[in-house]
Amino acid sequence: MPFFKNRTIKKEDYYTASQMQLVWARFARKRSAMVAAFLLFFFIFCGVFAGFLSPYDPTTAGRDKNYENGAPQIPQFCDDNGCNWHPFIHKVERYRGMDTNFRWVTRQTDKRNYLTFLPEVKPYRMLGIPMKHRLFGVEDGFVHLFGTDAAGKDVFSRTLHAIGISLAVGTIGVLISFVLALMIGGVAGFFGGWVDVVLQALMDTVKTTPTIPLFMALAAFIPDEWSSEMRFAFISMILGLLGWGTLARRLRTHVLAERTADYVLASKLSAAGPAHIIRRHLIPSFTSYIIVDLVISFPYMVLAETSLSFIGLGLKDPVNSLGVLLQNATKVDVLLNYHWYFIPVPIFVIIVLAFVFVGDGLRDAADPYSETR
């Protein structure tokens, strides 16, 4: 808590601190929230710069056709021939012979394959910027930290890209539902009366219907010939269109309570219109709650997308997301033999947990009465 720690606390500091400073000071005091925030930023960083951090293209373009369903290769410093400061993996080769019944198999050799830093690769684009280097690679062939899937695609690269995609879907969904909630909740609360009754009924309906079946019904509209980008946009939109219920209800309650406050009357007397009052006076009084609610609803969006993609109604193959990664994981041979398919799961559990902890921390920090002074 740099705000209080670095200098002696004066009483004026507390009273002259801005709202944001107070919230930050309270947030920073909570260790679990700080750790979660740190992790969250780390994963957001991973997701945004996935193109550079991952050694290969996550689509079939980057596949390693000599190493399908391959086990993770963990860089090592030592092997039977001694140690080296430079991490390496062992090379693999395709082999066919008497002992394998003349079938092609992939087997490990003793040859060392050293990791390289910032290797030059085929030009690619990250966030629209043309790039020529990836963070790491090997001297010859491929390195797969998390193994490969049935098509030989690198699971590590796919996971990093999946983080980015899932966060993007969540962000778009949250933004759409946020705008809807602001409009519907604000209007319902401000006007009251029959407008409120109708909008409340609408909120109730959206809340009562089981969301995932509704998501599924909407997602089933997507024609097969749509490109993966359009699919992505549509799925994010659906998530946003159905996710505004809770925030709208909270906003409504708040606006309902605040609209009789003196400052609202004052601005009414100054001839301010309803839109102006909602935008300039009522919503700012609610900002901290809105931010908290957005952070809290984020993981639900991500999880809904994951579920949809998992059952095949959400995103599809060239686009990666956790649900897409897990699509084949229910097959028995995967369950029995290819356990590295499940490596992305704990990573996503950590991301969702990080969101939950940051949301909890923010909620406590934004509540001025949570402090025991």
């Binding site: 009562t208 079946p213 509704l214 019904a217 509209f221 994951t306 499940f342 969702v352 947990l353």
Partner: protein
């Protein structure tokens, strides 16, 4: 009593209004799907070697009533559903939706309500206990578990259980029936066989609901415990469990009952996905099939409508129940 009947009446009409609105939404969704039932039926016929003209399609549309205006068809659909419990005809299977989903829906509802029951069976006592030993190791452990309930969605838990099952027990633990009973007619033996397999889906369906409900119960109890009336009771010499059960637990009961409908919603949410992972043959799987593969909107709409109807009905019942058991609310009515 008259006030209570009025209250029940208002609740009932608002529940019906919600249902109508939901049915309109569901019906619109079914309508928006490109290509109607008649076209699809005719398309199927044309694969059988018949030559189909536009006139044939039109004739079939007239036969099915698809040439009527949109709202009229909605009214017909929903009134048939309400008054005759008839949910129309499946586009793909050409038989009544009722026949198609009858016992599968029953299985789904059985699983869901069992999961709901297990949720409260675990969440309420453990939550109360956790609030009693607040900030202890047990309490912190439970909190971590609850967070996991949120972060590890049910289908991933199902995957994890399958993973462990295949590695250690050599059984994927999937399906609802043994080989012998899969296509057998319903009997006591088949029911028992189902129950033997059903524990896993029930536990998995209840997983996140349990974790979240546990936290709710704990928070409610912890809130109540610091109130003045508890202090007053303590001053009168009450302590321990008897104090806890006598006042705070009864106070916390209201919000818990209120959230039953919401938890059922949560469980229904997971139904199709858990069905997909565990290879169940219930309405969840049917819904998934209708939406993802066969595009059978009539069937999907009917299943979503039934699910919502069950939730709305449960909400209505819990509202009444709350009014009856909570003296603060009850006094107004009787």
């Amino acid at each position: 009593m008259a006030a209570f009947i009025k209250f029940a009446g208002i609740r009932l009409s608002s529940a019906l209004a919600t249902m109508l609105l939901v049915s309109l939404v569901v019906f619109s969704l079914m309508e928006l799907v490109p290509g109607n039932c008649a076209e699809r039926y005719i398309a199927y016929k044309s694969t059988q070697g018949q030559i189909i003209t536009q006139a044939d399609i039109h004739a079939e549309e007239v036969r099915m009533g698809l040439d009527r205006p949109y709202l009229e068809r909605w009214v017909k659909w929903i009134s048939k559903a309400i008054f005759r419990l008839d949910l129309g005809e499946s586009c793909l299977w050409r038989i009544g939706v009722n026949n198609l989903i009858g016992d599968k829906m029953a299985i789904s509802l059985l699983l869901s309500f069992a999961a709901l029951f297990v949720t409260y069976l675990i969440a309420v006592p453990v939550g109360i206990f956790s609030a009693r030993v607040k900030d202890s190791l047990f309490d912190s452990g439970l909190r971590a578990f609850s967070y996991l309930g949120l972060a590890l969605p049910n289908f991933m838990l199902a995957l994890a259980v399958m993973l462990i099952g295949t590695i250690y027990f050599n059984d994927t633990l999937t399906g609802l029936f043994s080989e012998a009973y899969r296509n057998a007619p319903w009997s006591m033996a088949k029911f028992l066989d189902m129950m033997r397999h059903a524990w896993l889906p029930i536990l998995i369906l209840g997983w996140s609901a349990t974790a979240i409900q546990l936290q709710t119960v704990r928070a409610l109890m912890a809130d109540e415990q610091s109130k003045l009336y508890v202090l007053a009771a303590r001053a009168r010499g009450l302590s321990g469990w008897s104090l806890l059960m006598r006042y705070p637990a009864r106070h916390a009961l209201g919000p818990v009952i209120n959230s039953i409908g919401f938890d059922l919603n949560r469980i229904f949410n997971d139904l199709p996905i858990v069905a997909a992972v565990l290879a169940l043959t219930d309405a969840g799987a049917l819904l998934l099939d209708a939406l993802a593969k066969s595009n059978d909107q009539q069937l999907a709409g009917a299943i979503i409508l039934i699910m919502t109807a069950v939730i709305v009905a449960l909400n209505f019942v819990t509202d009444l129940l709350l009014a009856i058991i909570d003296p603060r609310v009850r006094r107004g009515f009787f």
